[in-house]
């Protein structure tokens, strides 16, 4: 496609430092394109380059492309993945808004892996990075459609309006966008403004809107990688060792080969894979393999040793300010599985001269390069189709299963549909690293004069083989202690250390903030207690940002902070600021039985700047509330002599309905500011509020998470 008609760069409503270019592509139907910036100012958030932001890569070369088809559909092939966060709905809303199209006429398929540009989904940056380009794109398309209609009807373009996917003339004549698309494709200079609407005229953006794929989901039509009949790929599973990264010593597959439905058994990637006519046959044959495994490199280690090594790796404390008294605590967080409901699944069809893949991935470009290298083909011969994912929470930043599937398909010389079992995912998959935190608030004259957060977490060591070398994104750098300056705490400092273990790790929703900020919010409560102040009142006087104070006030009012509650129950509160957004959470807990606490109510308030879809934001906050409940109260992984003890949702106790709050409320703060990030935002506030509520209900000081483990 040739680029032509490059319009002059234009400013975007003063909201952004970026400039937006919109191009028209040579095509018979109206097709416009806008480059996507690699990182938006808001993606950096208030905290600068945190680990979750640093992962953003790419250049300005990639385009977001919008086509109006003759069938009256508006199609935008999205260079992001939908994993439940609602990005396809949010982008459809932006497009429908500026085009005056019906939401139902906007299709947002997921783009295949590209060769360049920014196709990264993560760091809660999707809405903020797409908000400008998507609206400019649609506004340009609208201007051209209007101009085409004006020419057809010999009317001044300014007299025409757009409504429900049509251009409408004052005399009632009207034409669908589909009927105008060919003519609009030839318009070089629109006769009406091609700028996005001012926020005051938004009718779609900001209106609570249901997911565009809701009907497909509730009827079972939504398809995930394992549901695709792609390439005639056959069900495939892999045998895995009892310990993390255990080594294959020998295998006798005689019995397995003789079993019904078995198509191929191949040794590759340090494991044995079974390809069969059904997962039933594949799993049975896998169980019939007689394999000798050598213990993995983690084998001597269990939780106690990991915990003590982490504690020892925490950097030394500095000398507290003279004359201050210390409020301090040491906190431990266990490993946590991402455990998305859809287990890792990848369809691979590797041939001698080309390869094709179908799987859900947050990093399709990295995946494509790695897959090409894995199978020994040039990247140009490798196609990666990005499929909607059944949850991710960071898990699909890595593409372990696709790499394995590639090797198996190549070895078996047939298309394979590889599925990790739930036990595979929990015992050998990635996890949020365990960490140890030493936090000290120095109090003098009734206020905090210094705040220090020292920590150590587990880093993944690589042996150049096995899972560790497979599957993409690793942590950009060691975690940095929080330096957000969220509170007016005088001298704020920190340092981090770590230990390296051969264990598969991955960024987990909210990354380091999920542990660091959670622990800090517990300490903030303890400082308030030491000063004899109410946790909300104390925060209100020490928070720096008006926006954070506003969300705190919102949950305090809406959640009736301070209401009388029976013994054994209590309220807790916490705040967080990141991704250019902020959030507060108020939790009520019934800890009458401290071993079986029940969060009974959650009230959250978020300021994410312009909120494209308040219903989607509420859903994201609801999800982070469950993450907070789960990780603080009950869900984690144990390491026993080099193996993960848990193996399913029976023992990895992510919260179910019986642990969910009976009442959940989310409040979206009105704002016309630049959109911030929202997908990960709520985790630290929710986790902190659950911990603080538990502390107040039980009179304990929570230190080791999850608390009931």
């Amino acid at each position: 496609m040739d680029l032509n008609d490059g319009t002059a760069p234009e400013r975007h409503g003063g909201l952004s430092r970026r400039r937006f270019m919109v191009y028209t592509l040579a095509a018979t139907t109206l097709t416009v394109a806008a480059p996507l910036a690699c990182d938006s100012p808001s993606a950096q958030g208030a905290e600068g380059a945190r680990a979750s932001d640093v992962l953003v890569t790419g250049t300005d070369e990639e385009m977001l492309v919008l086509e109006v088809t003759a069938q009256n559909k508006v199609v935008v092939r999205l260079p992001r993945v939908e994993v439940g966060q609602g990005i396809t709905t949010a982008v459809a809303m932006m497009i429908a808004e500026e085009l005056d199209a019906r939401l139902a006429d906007v299709d947002i398929p997921l783009a295949d892996a590209r060769t360049k540009g920014n196709q990264y989904t993560g760091g809660s940056n999707s809405v903020s990075s797409l908000y400008g380009p998507a609206r400019h794109l649609a506004a340009t398309a609208r201007a051209k459609l209007v101009t085409a209609a004006a020419q057809r009807w010999h009317l001044p373009a300014r007299t025409l309006r757009t409504w429900n996917g049509r251009v409408v003339a004052p005399d009632g004549r009207n034409a669908t966008f589909g009927a105008l698309t060919e003519a609009a494709a030839r318009i070089r200079h629109p006769a009406v403004s091609d700028k996005p609407k001012p926020a005051s005229r938004h009718r779609v953006i900001g209106r609570p809107t249901n997911r565009i794929d809701a009907r497909d989901i509730v009827t079972g039509r939504a398809r995930f990688a394992g549901d695709l009949p792609a390439a005639g790929a056959k069900p495939t599973v892999v045998a895995r060792p009892p310990t993390v990264r255990g080594k294959l010593v020998s295998v006798d597959d005689t019995a397995a080969r003789a079993m019904p439905g078995v198509l191929a058994i191949v040794k590759t990637a340090g494991t044995v894979a079974v390809v069969a006519e059904s997962f039933h046959y594949a799993l049975k044959a896998r169980d019939a393999l007689r394999i000798t495994w050598a213990p993995g490199p983690l084998a001597p280690l269990s939780d106690a040793a990991i915990r003590s090594r982490l504690k020892a790796a925490v950097p030394r404390s500095s000398t507290p300010p003279r004359g201050s008294t210390q409020v301090q605590g040491e906190f431990e967080f266990a490993f946590v599985s991402h455990a998305p409901m859809e287990v890792l699944t990848a369809v691979a069809d590797v041939r001698a001269d080309r390869a094709e893949f179908w799987f859900s991935t947050q990093t399709p470009m990295d995946a494509r390069d790695s897959l090409a290298q894995t199978v020994g083909l040039p990247a140009s011969k490798v196609r990666v189709h990005v499929v909607r994912g059944g949850g991710s929470f960071g898990r699909r930043l890595n593409f372990d299963a696709a790499i394995e599937a590639a090797l198996i398909s190549k070895a078996a010389r047939r298309p394979v549909k590889l599925m990790w079992t739930r036990a595979d995912d929990i015992r050998h998959g990635r996890m949020r690293p365990a960490s140890h935190h030493r936090i000290r608030a120095s109090v003098s004259g009734g206020r905090v004069v210094a705040f220090e957060h020292l920590m150590a977490s587990v880093g993944e060591s690589f042996d150049g083989k096995g899972l560790a070398a497979q599957g993409g994104v690793t942590r950009a750098a060691g975690p940095l202690p929080s330096d957000s300056g969220l509170y007016n705490f005088g001298r704020v400092g920190g340092n981090s250390g770590g230990i390296q273990l051969p264990i598969p790790l991955g960024a987990w929703r909210s990354v380091d903030s999920g542990t660091m900020r959670t622990a800090e919010e517990v300490v903030v409560d303890e400082v308030a207690r030491a000063l004899g102040k109410d946790p909300v009142a104390f925060r209100r006087t020490t928070l720096r940002s008006k926006a954070v104070k506003a969300v705190l006030d919102k949950v305090a009012a809406a959640g009736h902070w301070g209401r009388a509650m029976p013994t054994g129950t209590g309220q807790g509160v916490a705040v967080h600021e990141e991704y250019g957004s902020c959030v507060a959470c108020l939790v009520e807990i019934d800890a009458t039985d401290p071993k079986k606490p029940r969060v009974t109510k959650v009230v959250m308030a978020a300021d994410v700047g312009t909120c494209v879809n308040p219903r989607g934001l509420e859903a994201q906050l609801m999800g982070t509330a469950m993450d907070g409940i789960s990780t603080v109260l009950q869900a984690g992984l144990h390491i026993d002599r080099g193996a993960v003890r848990e193996g399913s949702f029976a023992d990895f106790r992510y919260a179910r309905q019986g642990q969910a709050p009976l009442r959940f409320e989310a409040h979206v703060m009105p704002s016309h500011g630049e959109p911030g990030g929202a997908g990960e935002l709520g985790v630290p506030a929710a986790a902190g509020a659950v911990a603080n509520a538990y502390a107040r209900a039980t009179g304990t000081r929570p230190r080791r998470f999850p608390l009931n483990f």
Partner: protein, 156 residues
């Protein structure tokens, strides 16, 4: 290998399968019915939840032999043609789904609950054990109550 016949989503089907083959893989791999999802294979996450003779089952732990000459309903068969089941409609109205992977199972579990108890209490809803990793539980609770409100009051 034996031949098993049952009614699937209103239509008779016959499959050749070993008697211990879980219904889940019969549905997904032999019949191409992919609404019921694999989430654990051991009956604890309940993403595959479907109905056998109208009652809730987890097809990942129900062998096909147990389904012979009975009626199996998956998410694909819950609606009456284009008319959604009240639970499906409530799911859309409350915008319950996020990633959507567990939702066929959640919907089938809710529909089965409402069949047993037309006006379930919070305690009844709490006993639904289907895992939703996206954490949509609050909207699931609302949707079940909406669907219950749409049905006539319980008989004395």
């Amino acid at each position: 290998m034996r031949s098993y016949s049952f009614v699937l989503n209103g239509k008779p089907v016959t499959v050749e399968a070993p008697d211990d083959m879980p219904l889940l893989w019969v549905l997904r791999d032999l019949l191409g019915v992919t609404g019921p999802k694999y989430g654990c294979g051991v009956g604890v996450c309940r993403a595959c939840t479907s109905h056998l003779d109208g009652a809730e089952i987890q097809p990942c732990v129900v062998p096909v032999a147990d389904c012979a000459d009975r009626t199996v309903t998956t998410i694909e068969g819950l609606a009456d043609g284009d008319t959604l089941h009240p639970v499906q409609q409530a799911w859309i109205d409350r915008d319950v789904a996020q990633c959507g992977f567990c939702q066929p199972g959640q919907i089938m579990a809710a529909a089965a609950l409402l069949k047993r108890t037309s006006h379930p209490t919070d305690a009844d809803i709490d006993r639904i054990e289907n895992v939703c990793r996206c954490g949509t539980y609050a909207r699931i609770r609302e949707a079940i109550k909406q669907a219950a409100a749409a049905s006539p009051p319980a008989q004395g």
